[in-house]
Symmetry: C2
Subunit: 447 residues, 2 copies
């Protein structure tokens, strides 16, 4: 039987080179997370549907991949009732946030709070696949839960700063605060219109002041309220100047002032920590407005046109739905696929990532001679291959070339008889011979 | 709404410490794979059911986790036909071997053969969960496909040798060859009884020679055939002596002699490569007899009672089912969960794996003083945390203790005023002060 093989739409295979490039991103992020004392955890790919349903809105529920119960799922269904809920109890995780909240509540007695964790695992969404949108993709989330200190927010900004410095991507960190937005809505006498106001502010650059005012009117804000907002719509100047304008405007809103305090404290820390990545207040940042309660972050690549490449914020009640109240946390997520696209677009991947080995020993039949040398080089930390078959040299050369192996050693009878190891640098063409025991000289040539 | 959170049975959360221990295993294995020039690939968690069904036997088909089609899966079903096949087109991967075969066929034009790949990903099986058996678990597979050279087999033995040397586990590598087993069945005139013969040989130690002979009789082998097998049942002595006995016995079986040639060549390479892990022929090794066509491997931990911790073999026609014939490959799989149990049982995990950071700065409110020092230490490669809240010192101490952070720095007003950094080694109790710019001295104390 012959089948034409394929994979489900919206999913991907990652081959040798792509995998090396992706690992470069994951390794960089992981190593920065660790340098700040974050610990990795993993949760199962499958969660109970009761854990997942209702957490991502109606649209999100539809995008969950459901797993058919094992055994004969249809054996005892009641055909008069909806089948889906009778035959599926599990689903694939949709993000890392809800499983993290579930994890914290389930393991609260084992966890030392504040709990600093990161998680790098795939998630699955039954979205319509399109360019840059997949049904399986990795998320890299870092969160600290159990502290309300703005030092947590700072740490996330430091992590962003360091990750993109190491990756060589110039970024801008945009920071907003949900409490400030609530304050704005409050002083407008429209506390339920936070989203409308934020979305309108966001359109300022595109449609201009008058159109924004019109939009706010159409959303039901009074002319007086809009007049009050005008200083915000015209907000200019340094961080301090902006804060001063807002403080004055929001003098009557306790929550708004609290938000400004948080922003000021965070920017103070950013300056104390010597962060060089530009960070700015952006009141139009509406990301995750439904669950964020404090800081909101978004990171933009400066030299490549793409959506945000990291984002996050503070949530005060993430674990409440699982029965654990008053657990404030703040987190940020790195979008591996978009970071990949930026690095590819800017040509910023380090050279030689794709080469699996440093040295290929061609197979001339002299295995007894080569095997111990190869083993010694591996012990010294060099990746070494021996071509398995005594094929034509052309074929073995091609193999090294296609795999991007930079050095080739051809040792036949002559070399074996003379105790030499001949190595060629395939890029420069330089070829040298070494006594087979002179490991130091060989290592030097290979490095 | 309050939900009591839980995860599906047979699945696991991995917390901070367990994750660090598992990463130690994965990192070790990965690094050895890479030193031999194997490249990592990843395939999607979901495969089309057409790829998976029929590859693992009837029992395996039942153990596949099926994913409900997205959208309204039940919208247009024909209730008179089996529902499962109408509402599920995708399943979770059951192992890494079939997706690898699918990958090789699908991407054959991009691959340079011989293709040396490794893959470390979870797989899912709807098995009844029990101690040591999970519904989601990682497999670590390394394979080379596109060469029939015994150097490939050697490389896998070298990898086993190096992985377990690094992990500090003493192992025995058992090696068999499917062709030798076929040869035995052939000389018995019972070529269809390979499995029966192998299973009977396997029982020799437990039930004794006479009972084994009886079992072979009951399986339909003639007394003459059993008499022919007797030298095998009494096989003793060195590798060379065993081979000599078998050569004589199997003089009339071409396939048997081919198997012996392969074994001899492999053991010759093992000796040339200077492998120190004990390797022995074990004709009772019946692992994966259905698809292996040459070498069969199994690795046993010598100092801990557990099943095999690695295993694999050569398969000549893995990709045939996907339309690519004559692709011989050989691979071995490392069982991360069992390796974990052995390391735990023998107490062989390195100390300090669980500690996320090297140093905790207690929070005494002097952030402006501490933040730049912490940043400098991180740049020098040290994992550093700052406790986010200015809580009571006892609480901050406890945090360091529970997270296993070995060093604590308490810098209050006095230190900030004098430009000093005070650090305490929590294990030894030793406490020292350093000028805040004397990074070298601090690093020395922390190391």
């Amino acid at each position: 039987m012959t089948q034409k093989p394929s994979i489900p739409k919206g999913t991907r295979d990652f081959g040798r080179l792509e995998m090396a490039e992706r690992n470069y991103i994951f390794d960089t992020i992981r190593s920065v997370f660790r340098s700040f004392g974050y610990s990795q955890i993993e949760t199962p790919a499958m969660e109970n549907l009761s854990t997942l349903l209702g957490k991502y809105g109606e649209e999100g529920d539809k995008l969950l991949f459901r797993i058919l119960n094992s055994g004969d799922a249809f054996a005892s269904v009641d055909p008069s009732k909806p089948l889906v809920s009778q035959v599926c109890e599990k689903g694939l995780r949709y993000d890392l946030t809800v499983p993290f909240a579930r994890y914290v509540v389930q393991h609260r007695d084992e966890i030392s709070f504040p709990f600093k964790r990161f998680q790098m695992q795939p998630v699955w969404r039954a979205d319509r696949p399109q360019k840059g949108r997949y049904r399986e993709f990795y998320q890299c989330d870092v969160d600290v839960i159990g502290s309300t200190s703005q030092l947590c927010e700072l740490e996330l900004v430091q992590i962003v700063d360091e990750v993109y410095r190491r990756l060589g991507i110039n970024v801008l960190v945009k920071i907003n605060n949900r409490k400030v937005l609530s304050g704005l809505a409050e002083i407008c006498g429209a506390p339920d219109k936070v989203v409308d106001i934020t979305v309108a502010i966001d359109k300022l650059d595109k449609i201009g002041l008058d159109a924004v005012k019109e939009e706010l009117l159409s959303k039901g804000l009074s002319s007086e309220a809009i007049a009050l907002l005008e200083p915000i719509l015209n907000l200019k100047g340094s961080f301090e100047e902006k804060i001063a304008v807002m403080r004055q405007l929001m003098a009557s809103s306790a929550v708004g002032l609290k938000g400004l305090d948080e922003l000021e404290e965070l920017f103070g820390f950013i300056s104390e920590a010597g962060i060089t990545t530009p960070c700015e207040i952006d009141l139009s940042l509406a990301r995750g407005l439904n669950y964020y309660t404090g800081a909101i972050f978004e990171v933009k690549a400066l030299d490549w046109e793409i959506g945000s490449i990291s984002g996050g914020g503070r949530y005060d009640n993430l674990t409440g739905i699982f029965g654990l109240a008053d657990m404030s946390g703040v987190g940020i997520s790195f979008g591996a696929d978009r970071i990949y696209d930026v690095l590819k677009g800017l040509g910023k991947f380090p050279a030689g990532l794709g080469s699996a080995s440093q040295l290929l020993f061609a197979n001339m039949g002299e295995t007894a001679y080569i095997l111990p040398v190869a083993a010694a080089l591996r012990s010294a930390g060099v990746s070494v291959e021996i071509y398995p078959d005594a094929s034509k040299l052309k074929k073995q050369f091609d193999y090294a070339d296609r795999k991007g192996i930079p050095f080739l050693s051809i040792c036949g009878e002559t070399e074996a008889a003379s105790g030499l190891i001949q190595i060629k640098n395939l890029a420069s063409g330089e070829q040298r011979s070494f006594p087979k025991d002179d490991l130091a000289a060989i290592l030097d040539f290979l490095s």
